[in-house]
Amino acid sequence: MDPLRQPPSPCSPRPSSPRTQSCEMLGYVGIEAVLDQLKIKAMKMGFEFNIMVVGQSGLGKSTMVNTLFKSKMWKSTLPGLGVPTPKTLQLQSVTHVIEEKGVKLKLTVTDTPGFGDQINNDKCWDPILGYINEQYERYLQEEILITRQRHIPDTRVHCCVYFVPPTGHCLRPLDIEFLQRLCQTVNVVPVIARADSLTIEEREAFRRRIQHNLRTHCIEVYPQKCFDEDINDRILNSKIRERIPFAVVGADREHLVNGRCVLGRKTKWGIIEVENMAHCEFPLLRDLLIRTHLQDLKDITHNIHYENYRVFRLNKSHVLPRGPGWVNLAPGPAPSPASPQATPRTMKVCRWTQDNSDDEC
């Protein structure tokens, strides 16, 4: 953190009350010890992170998760080994507790086998949206109890990684539909899966085309431009936005290259090293998701997406039924999944807006 922070801009989240005077301290008091107290408390409580991977089967989702967290989260399914493709979309979640240097992380990975695999993929995003909204609903129900728990367990999906098949052309209609709907409810990070089937030039061209598509259809993927807090964030995030979607390759086997043991895919024409920036952009994805922006993902989910959901739910609660059937946000076929998503677009709560009357982002 640079001590020369910019003065609070109108967009900054720090409200300054006119009664506050700034005081000079003449000696060391020890206020900065609160940072360490925070750290200790956080490490004692542990962290939670929920990630969802969406994509067609065979794109390497499970392998990617294993590579990201360097452990066998899932058994990567090899096709043709008698595991039937599910007829309908099923969501599978698995939770693990991983620990590194005293930091405990409770990681939940939700997989979506069967997505986009049917012949008619109409509305295949609805179960996913339903699952995401169910997690929000669960959190909301816990939050509005009279006797609340000390720490509400957070099962909301913080990040959704969307795997784009490496066709090399552009986004397919299914991708566009899905991304449009999901970007309003959850943080979506699109990646180009199995990028080892594209050369570097093809990769760049594909990426440009995808970015163009995203811009045309007004799809805001993470990191969203409207949530940048200050100039530092904006610079950092624009660099990331330049490279979205990352072209990634997943691998969970280790091979010997030049005497080092690296994770990679071995082919007849060479070994693709996963962690080599020249080969693929997996390190960028890993850094974005884990090393630098994890807390930011959680914050945006909590402060923006969850609040949007809450506003919608509290306003429309006389319309929605209760109980497990509540997920059925679709009263009718056509505008249904669009309606809870379309309205929050206009009702988006911005991070820096302080008054409750204006709703523009």
């Binding site: 922070r5 989240p13 720090r14 009350s17 506050t20 005077q21 700034s22 005081c23 003449l26 060391y28 008091v29 900065e32 010890a33 609160v34 940072l35 360490d36 925070l38 750290k39 200790i40 490490m43 542990g46 967290f69 360097k70 452990s71 599978q92 979640s93 507790v97 991983i98 620990e99 590194e100 240097k101 005293g102 930091v103 992380l105 409770k106 109890l145 009279i146 006797t147 728990q149 720490h151 367990p153 099962t155 807090e229 850094d287 884990i290 090393r291 630098t292 807390q295 402060n303 609040e307 506003v311 509290l314 306003n315 006389h318 497990p324 059937g325 059925n328 709560v349 991070r351 409750n356």
Partner: protein, 497 residues
Amino acid sequence: MPLVARGSRALAERSRKGGAGEASRSRSPSSSQCWQTAPRRSWSRSRDGRGRWETVCECWGLAIPVRCAFGAGNEDLRNLSLSGHVGFDSLPDQLVNKSTSQGFCFNILCVGETGIGKSTLMDTLFNTKFENDPATHNEPGVRLKARSYELQESNVRLKLTIVDTVGFGDQINKDDSYKPIVEYIDAQFEAYLQEELKIKRSLFNYHDTRIHACLYFIAPTGHSLKSLDLVTMKKLDSKVNIIPIIAKADTIAKNELHKFKSKIMSELVSNGVQIYQFPTDEETVAEINATMSVSPQVHLPFAVVGSTEEVKIGNKMAKARQYPWGVVQVENENHCDFVKLREMLIRVNMEDLREQTHTRHYELYRRCKLEEMGFKDTDPDSKPFSLQETYEAKRNEFLGELQKKEEEMRQMFVMRVKEKEAELKEAEKELHEKFDLLKRTHQEEKKKVEDKKKELEEEVNNFQKKKAAAQLLQSQAQQAGAQQTKKDKDKKNFFFM
């Protein structure tokens, strides 16, 4: 033993050392409170044969089983071993960076008599001079004065609010002294609750004004607590973290101090006053306590001396109070417990104080307030009641009431209008009658006048006739007279001739 040098950095080092080398050994999370969940009151959960919770997410009639391995109980959580460095050990740093950019809030309430040294102690604690005029003793009642300051130390911004009780203990009748304090604390909780219950809320932007710590200043009588102190502390202990301190501790001798402290603590315990318990279950704090060689609990209440003036001691300046018989150094542990107070309040437990306020005192307030408003978690049939349903019901009730009132008012209005109309009609009728009467009278009068006029005219005519007749007679008489005189004249003239 300079505790000033040790402190926060030591804590962090110890924690880091304790955590490393445990990447493979998984500590069972049952010791921490984070994974403990109360039995979930949710819709369709059932344990299948393997003991895993299954949620059924019903979409469009299809039951889509979401097999989740997390849930109540720790038996399902699998601890994975990592085969390489993933990198999420930077998570605490990410969290801290986020919090730093937002800044921290800390609110202290100082309760004590006028002149006991509250402002001086605050100045000494935070090493700065807050603008403060000393209060007079003539206050009619207790009022609270809150002032906010922004302090910055390296990259940490702290928004400190100090609330003072002005006029505490000055009145003759001190029955209601505690009331303004309790009301103020409740008002801050209420403001937070209102913000939390709003539909469109912005909690991450909210300037938290809830009191995190209450420093209760005990007068150094040397005997025991005053009854005002007991009563006030008893009222405040469920609402705020109370830290009792003995003010102006340089007026008490060492041996008396020890007796005084134990007397105070025993009185507090026997009266059931719950003061803030410094957390001793954390290893890091326990280690600090070990270095202090006695736990902070033994030292409570802290006997402090505040001073902003510096006195030359040895070859450096230190904060102290100069007396003819010696110099009381504020930061000397043998002289007073100021260093311990600062350590406990700011350097070790600030975050814990904030957390206790939020999770214990605020939750208690919220629970009471919501129950008072009539919300329940389960209704008599033990079906889960949702806040929304109750809110809906209340809203409908309220709307119904409003409608009824509106109806009533409308009816009353209609009735009044009718009455007024009737009145007006009556008045109109009366007016008409009057008018008719007047008209008739007028006509009668007119007729009378006409009659009279006629009579008058007749009389005038008669008179004229009479007058004419009289004139005629007169003229005849005159003529006759004139002829007679003429004859006479002629006769006379004849005779003369």
